[in-house]
């Protein structure tokens, strides 16, 4: 065999291996959608990818079993709010930590770094009592406040700081010469230059909020206040056993839109995660 042939063979082997490896990553999504269209009797029958009988009613019953549309909306508006708040707060603090000298900055950095690593589970008990004291249990406030100011928000702050540090200072100094205040420099010069970092923070924050589970589980109890992950885990019969076809139909409704956005913007999304991970 010539060198060229061995190289082609080598490549082909790798590609086949990768294709096989890809199955457990893709197939669950396909099987989820397929099962979402099946009836209870078919769901555990002989496996078939295409449902023998398409049971569209599943997707209607999803909305009558619990206020699924409302729960969907909850997840959406909370994620948007958390993302907006995080963008403002983290870029303000990140800017100050990157560009301004102030007493206590080093100490603040140390505190924030230590917060980065601590899991939510550690502080969730006192936070529960805090929210109960504020009268915010079974509202969406904890789901907005805790991610914004918790480790996720701190991570966003560091991401912004890192990006601001890498920006050239000259434009900002020119802005200052032209009479811009610090706030003006941040808003009119630094922020527009840091769009990639803002996009990364937005993507990661949105997904984190959208997928949040522990906080909704602990703080929210009425069905109308549920977010999507909580709603998904709630498709059970009176014995607590899953109503599989409804649950999988609902899960498809929750996952497929995110996957479509992911497929369109995969490069941007993957880069955002790489950016946040490198720092950690």
């Amino acid at each position: 065999m010539s060198l060229r042939q061995t190289r082609i063979l080598y490549r082909a082997c790798w590609t086949i291996a990768l294709l096989i490896a890809a199955i457990p990553f893709i197939f669950p999504f396909i099987w989820m959608v397929s099962a979402g269209f099946k009836s209870v009797t078919e769901i555990f029958g002989a496996p078939s990818l295409i449902p023998r009988v398409w049971r569209w009613e599943n997707f209607v019953e999803v909305f009558t079993y619990q206020p699924f549309a409302r729960q969907y909306f909850n997840s959406l508006y909370i994620a948007i709010l958390v993302t907006g708040l995080t963008l403002v707060i983290s870029s303000l603090a990140g800017y100050a930590l990157a560009r301004m000298r102030f007493a206590g900055a080093a100490l603040l950095m140390l505190f924030l770094i230590s917060a980065l690593m601590v899991p939510e589970e550690v502080t969730i008990i006192p936070n529960f009592f805090l929210m109960r004291w504020f009268g915010l249990v079974d509202t969406h406030w904890p789901l907005i406040l805790l991610p914004t100011f918790g480790p996720q928000g701190v991570m966003a702050t560091f991401l912004m700081r890192q990006y601001f540090l890498a920006l050239p200072k000259e434009l900002e100094e020119a802005g200052k010469m032209d009479g811009l205040t610090r706030f003006g420099v941040w808003w009119k010069i630094a922020l527009p230059m840091s769009r990639p970092a803002l996009a990364a923070v937005a993507i990661i924050t949105f997904l984190h909020s959208w997928n949040l589970f522990l906080e909704p589980l602990i703080f929210v109890s009425s069905l109308e206040m549920f977010t999507l992950p909580l709603a998904l885990s709630n498709f059970n019969d009176s014995y607590g056993l899953p109503l599989w076809n409804l649950q999988l139909a609902a899960t498809s409704l929750a996952v497929v839109p995110i996957l479509i956005v992911y497929l369109i913007a995969q490069r941007q999304i993957i880069e955002s995660f790489a950016l946040s991970g490198v720092k950690g």
Binding site: P28, L112, G153, F213, L214, P229, L232, L259, G277
Partner: protein, 307 residues
């Protein structure tokens, strides 16, 4: 503009101080939302949980009494559940971390250089990362059902009678670990790809000209140069494995026979199911200690690597 003129006119030591003071005030204004939120929702609760861990406090009795280290004694010396949970968490970490990292590195090596289809594969392997853990656990739980579950039906085709995965403690643990690896490996793959792409190509080409084999290039050039990345990824993944909650909540609920009851789930169960606030806080402090030790190990190793 008027401000700066004002200051230059005054001149001297004093104005520089006021300028500094002004900048300092502005800076604190910029960081104030972060700082206030940090104190209310992180630092305060962290101090509170440290105090709670020293109390006997059951929500049903509504009384907190200071008991010193009794909860820690209970956890570490008396309560057999605690060590069972620690054992589960350690098994989970020991299963997940090496499997995740080996797979991530293999995929990264295959996908770090452009070829036709590279974007497709990267997109596929990363897709579960953006998916909610609850959704992922729902689908896998469905596929791992003992009777009529997809996995067992496939196994039956080749004549294997699969176990009732999520009803037997050891199989359930294996199932949780493997499905978690598939869910999260994409993230580490991306981090490894970034690290691989940062290695100058010349090194490898020089080695190849010297007649080094692929294996030699990997073991003598690539792997040593990846060491810093490997360290960071290992610590992040280990900490992540101690935090895992939603995945286990949905797939096994800590069962069967507490076979997948890990630390994060145990904290939730004690605090929010059994209302043992004091004991649950003790567990939270132990988790905090574990994470801190892992972080310090990382910092120490990094420093050692730099010398």
């Amino acid at each position: 503009m008027t401000d700066s003129i004002h200051i230059t006119r005054r001149g001297g030591q004093k104005s520089r101080l006021t300028l500094k003071a002004r900048e300092m005030m502005e800076a604190w204004l910029f960081v104030s939302p972060t700082v206030i939120g940090f104190i209310i929702f992180f630092l305060g609760p962290l101090l509170a949980v440290a105090y709670y861990s020293l109390t006997e406090w059951n929500l049903l009795t509504q009384q907190a009494t200071f008991v010193g280290l009794a909860n820690f004694e209970n956890a570490l010396l008396e309560n057999p559940d605690f060590w069972h949970v620690v054992r589960n968490s350690v098994i989970f970490a020991l299963g997940l971390v090496p499997l995740n990292m080996a797979l991530a590195l293999t995929l990264a090596l295959a996908l770090s250089r452009p070829f036709r289809g590279v974007v497709f594969f990267r997109t596929v392997f990363f897709a579960p990362v953006v998916t909610s853990a609850i959704a992922w656990a729902i689908v896998w739980k469905f596929m791992l059902q003992g009777e009529g579950g997809f996995i067992n039906q496939v196994l039956a085709l080749v004549g294997i009678s699969g176990p009732n995965w999520l009803r037997e403690p050891n199989w359930a643990m294996a199932a949780v670990i493997i499905t978690r690896v598939i869910k999260m490996v994409g993230l580490n793959m991306i981090l490894y790809i970034a690290a691989l792409q940062a290695i100058p190509r010349d090194y490898e080409e020089a080695a190849r000209l010297e007649g080094a084999s692929r294996r030699q290039i990997f073991s003598m050039i690539t792997w040593p140069l990846l060491a810093p990345a490997t360290l960071v990824i290992m610590v992040i993944t280990t900490i992540g494995s101690f935090k895992v909650f939603d995945h286990i909540y949905q797939m096994t609920g800590g069962g069967p026979e507490n076979g997948t009851l890990v630390l994060a789930f145990y904290i939730y169960q004690q605090g929010f199911k059994f209302f043992n606030v004091g004991y649950a806080s003790t567990l939270a402090m132990i988790m905090f200690a574990i994470v801190m030790v892992l972080t310090l190990v990382q910092v120490a190793l990094r420093r050692k690597g730099m010398e």
